[in-house]
Symmetry: C2
Subunit: 242 residues, 2 copies
DNA sequence: CGATTAATTGAACCTGGTCAATCGGAGTGG
DNA sequence: CCACTCCGATTGACCAGGTTCAATTAATCG
């Protein structure tokens, strides 16, 4: 039994642009079903020509890319509301893999109808482009992190970004956010070794800035953390939901 | 006197999808003029809400991002055919700056007409999304480079990518390509120090793999270089031109 | 209870950064 | 024409941020 789009728990959140009744109706038509997966389930494979695209409704995941020598780069963390599989949708091939890290519920769209959908609803084409531009923006920031920030700056930056995104989604209570990833995931996202990531996190805890244990990220001093990470505490702007 | 789109030297190149007469006509309408700039001219500023978007017709440039501590990250090199300013066009704010590195000629579009243009021509909306997805794909590769490749692997990867892009544009003669950037540009693109970038380039020259002097990049052994850079020699696929 | 996975910590080591000096070419002014 | 300056490239010496290796703890699970 799939949820009606009008009852979707996401599109009422402040982070997302409100959708008109009409928009909800044709999104409902575009939607072909729902998918529920367990932690560790691969959703899309790098290099694959997937037939489906998704919007994450709940749960979290990871976008990652493997090198031929076995090294892994984590590109970003997947949060509720994220659109997954755009590259397969337009390029016909994913440049990275996507994997669930928690139990996830996803809204499923059919790639074969993507083109006619965009053609019929140009405002949604614009929204897709918007999302893609935001992703590009974020990857640019990540690039600057790996290239120019030191380890402690990078970790601080990452925790701030994650926390703000979680906050915008209303997932933060008492400055705490569920962040169900491993230190290895974060290390591979920042291009740091696991050991050094661990020691850097320990430093942040010592300095009473942030603590991340048992899958819970607690931020004790967001402003100081942001300053250390050479970044701001601006909230993500409202974004469209697919 | 601006060039007619149908006489555009770019859209006949193999790298770009051929455009129908009809497409050429409405691109011609969308185009508001041409811009010619000298090396060093800033085209778009990070954080700005630019009124214009461009397609590079000739010359090369650089996309870059500054951190508040003064560090610079080069995101990518701009080649002929690149669309510039998508972020300003849809997000209303650039996440990076774009600067000319050579004399450049650019095709100019007006942002205020962007939305109505996309609405009127959904196939172009799709192409824009396609370009954005390719950019995202590339930034993902860059992230993997900064995060996972060693210095010599990173430099090799970069030279291979640049060379293949140049080759696809027909800019390569006798395995040589004009690559009018400084070692500092490359260093800031790869997150390496200038000194180490210089020494790494020297190694590649010693090993008879690639030489880059006086703005000319010469590749002596593309396959070996690609292998060292943990990448492939696949040519970029055909792309739309805006 | 053994096996597996994540986190943690110490110690040795090395890739790549920083500092500093030099060189060559291009432009500029006297 | 020469002196001077500026910029990019180059090289050597030293150093440190971060990696690698290795061992331990703790939690989960069949």
């Amino acid at each position: 039994m799939t949820t009606q789009c009008e009852n979707c728990p996401l599109h009422r959140k402040d982070l997302f642009k409100t959708m008109s009744r009409e928009e909800l109706e044709y999104m409902q038509k575009f939607k072909v079903g729902e998918l529920t997966v367990d932690p560790g389930t691969p959703l899309l494979m790098e290099g694959s020509n997937a037939a489906q695209m998704f919007t994450a409704l709940s749960g979290m995941g990871i976008r990652e890319k493997m090198l031929e020598n076995g090294e892994r780069q984590v590109l970003s963390f997947v949060f509720p509301g994220d659109f997954i599989g755009l590259q397969a949708g337009v390029l016909g091939e994913m440049g990275h893999s996507v994997e669930a890290r928690t139990h996830m519920r996803l809204c499923v769209f059919d790639r074969s109808e993507f083109w006619s959908f965009l053609r019929a609803h140009p405002s949604r084409a614009f929204d897709i482009t918007w999302l893609s531009a935001v992703e590009e923006h974020f990857l640019g920031e990540s690039l600057a992190t790996l290239g120019q920030r030191t380890a402690i700056q990078a970790v601080s930056w990452a925790l701030v970004r994650v926390f703000l995104r979680g906050h915008a989604l209303g997932l933060v209570t008492h400055n705490q956010l569920s962040f169900p990833f491993t230190q290895r995931d974060l290390a591979d996202a920042l291009g740091l070794s696991l050991v050094h990531t661990n020691k850097t996190l320990a430093k942040l805890k010592d300095h009473q800035l942030a603590a991340w244990q048992d899958g819970i990220l607690q931020i004790n001093n967001l402003d100081k953390l942001a300053e250390l990470g050479i970044t701001s505490t601006d909230m993500p702007q409202q974004r469209p939901l697919m």
